[in-house]
Amino acid sequence: MPRVTLETLPDYARHLITAAEDAAACYPAARTIRLPRLELIAHVAPGVLAEALGHAFLEAEDDLAEPSTCRIFTVHPGIGGIPEPARWGDAHFTEYGFAERLAGAELRGHYFHDLDFWQVYDPERRIGVQLMTSPDAFPPWEPTAPLRAFLHWEYAARGMRLTHAGTLGANGKGVLLAGAGGAGKSGTVAAGLLNGLDSVGDDYVLIDLAGGVTARPLFSTLKQDPQGFARLGLQQRLMIESPLNWQGKHTFHIADIAPRPVPAALDIVALVVPHIGGGETSSIVPVSRRDAMIALAPSGIMQMPGERESGFRFFGDLTRQLPSYRLSLGTHPEEIAGTLADFLTRVVS
């Protein structure tokens, strides 16, 4: 099995892209997904990943902008001409060093060593390769937000950003819910959806800073741990029989609980940092932009490979454009949603 080092990394990435393109006639299927400003063509073999591509996205059916096309080959050695994945051959590995080396060659990439799982992307040609040892040899988080690394690289090249945040809104205006895992984002989003508010995403949303802060949907998946699932009454409502995901959470979709079709966008009017308050009722108070930035940026940068400095600048610009608040979460979903709805009314007016 070949070994790849920092020295040979760009050559290896280009080799994978060439091999995938040369094998284009051998792919069993291609799926086209319409996303904001982007047409994603994914070549994928039948299986869990292909199924995920079918239901994990919220497609941008009403996006009038002319899309650019990017093409992603999800490949494995069972496809003619596709090599076995190489292994990392240097003694040390850091995501940062890996990404910096590729960026110096105008490429992007990610490597998950447990599975010898490679993702490489040429943003100039908008062609990417996801190389796996077999059709289902992907990390367990991949089906929830498939191909997200490629979307991250492609949108970052356009000055937009996949952002690790939840959203809630009404009448086209909304808030961005920021914070690391466990802060209460997902429970808040689900509580809002169940009580009449809109959302364009719970985990990753696309943020555009051109002409204000706009959030657009990409992924449809919602997650809840069993306690939150029960507290929100979702067990009775959804009757889900599927196993918990790799995080021990139930997964479902926005459309399962949304009061109306998912809007194409929300104009974001505030950055809100939720936390488990411990009190009966919710409250919203101003928080410094410094604290809001520290709630928003680290997990957003941590969960995406590469583009670290541009992400820091982007989240800085975003934070600067919005008033920031801390949301102390009460214990009742209806009350939380009502507090946010009242807050939105006040901020917008």
Binding site: E95, F112, H113, R289, D291, I294, F312
Partner: protein, 143 residues
């Protein structure tokens, strides 16, 4: 070796920072550590990062009291240990004219807080940590 001045510079290109309403947030791109500063710490950080002579700060009003040499030295030593600043041999920059008034308006003592709960994850990947002495791909075993 005795230096002619007491000036500093940002330690490397991997240290990036943004300022929000006068309050700084610093990120070390290489290791993922975030740093938040108090209001007076933010002003002093930005002054030091721009290469002013640190001695010019002593005796100014900051955080409701007079900035002493020991307090400033301790703060600078923190920034050096955290890898955010390095001593500079270039000529010190003059104290910006507005800085004394800005410092006088601060209410918190010099302080820097570290937010490194996500740093290990940023260095490696979203799920795994590695044994640092062994490096990749030796996955750290759960203790």
């Amino acid at each position: 070796m005795t230096r002619d001045c007491d000036a500093y510079a940002v330690a490397s290109r991997d240290i990036v920072f943004e300022s929000f309403d006068g309050e700084a947030v610093v990120l070390n791109l290489a290791n993922g550590k975030y740093f938040g500063f108090s209001d007076s710490g933010s002003r002093v950080w930005q002054a030091l990062a721009s290469g002013i002579d640190a001695r010019a700060l002593i005796g100014l009003t900051a955080g409701g009291s007079t900035l002493g040499a020991a307090e400033l030295e301790h703060f600078i030593s923190q920034l050096l240990e955290l890898g955010l600043l390095v001593p500079s041999e270039t000529a010190a920059q003059p104290l910006p004219g507005e800085l004394p008034a800005e410092l006088a308006a601060t209410s918190e003592p010099l302080d820097v807080s570290i937010h490194d709960d996500l740093a290990d994850l940023i260095i490696v990947d979203p799920i795994h940590e590695v044994e640092e002495p062994l490096g990749w791909p030796a996955v750290k075993q759960a203790s």
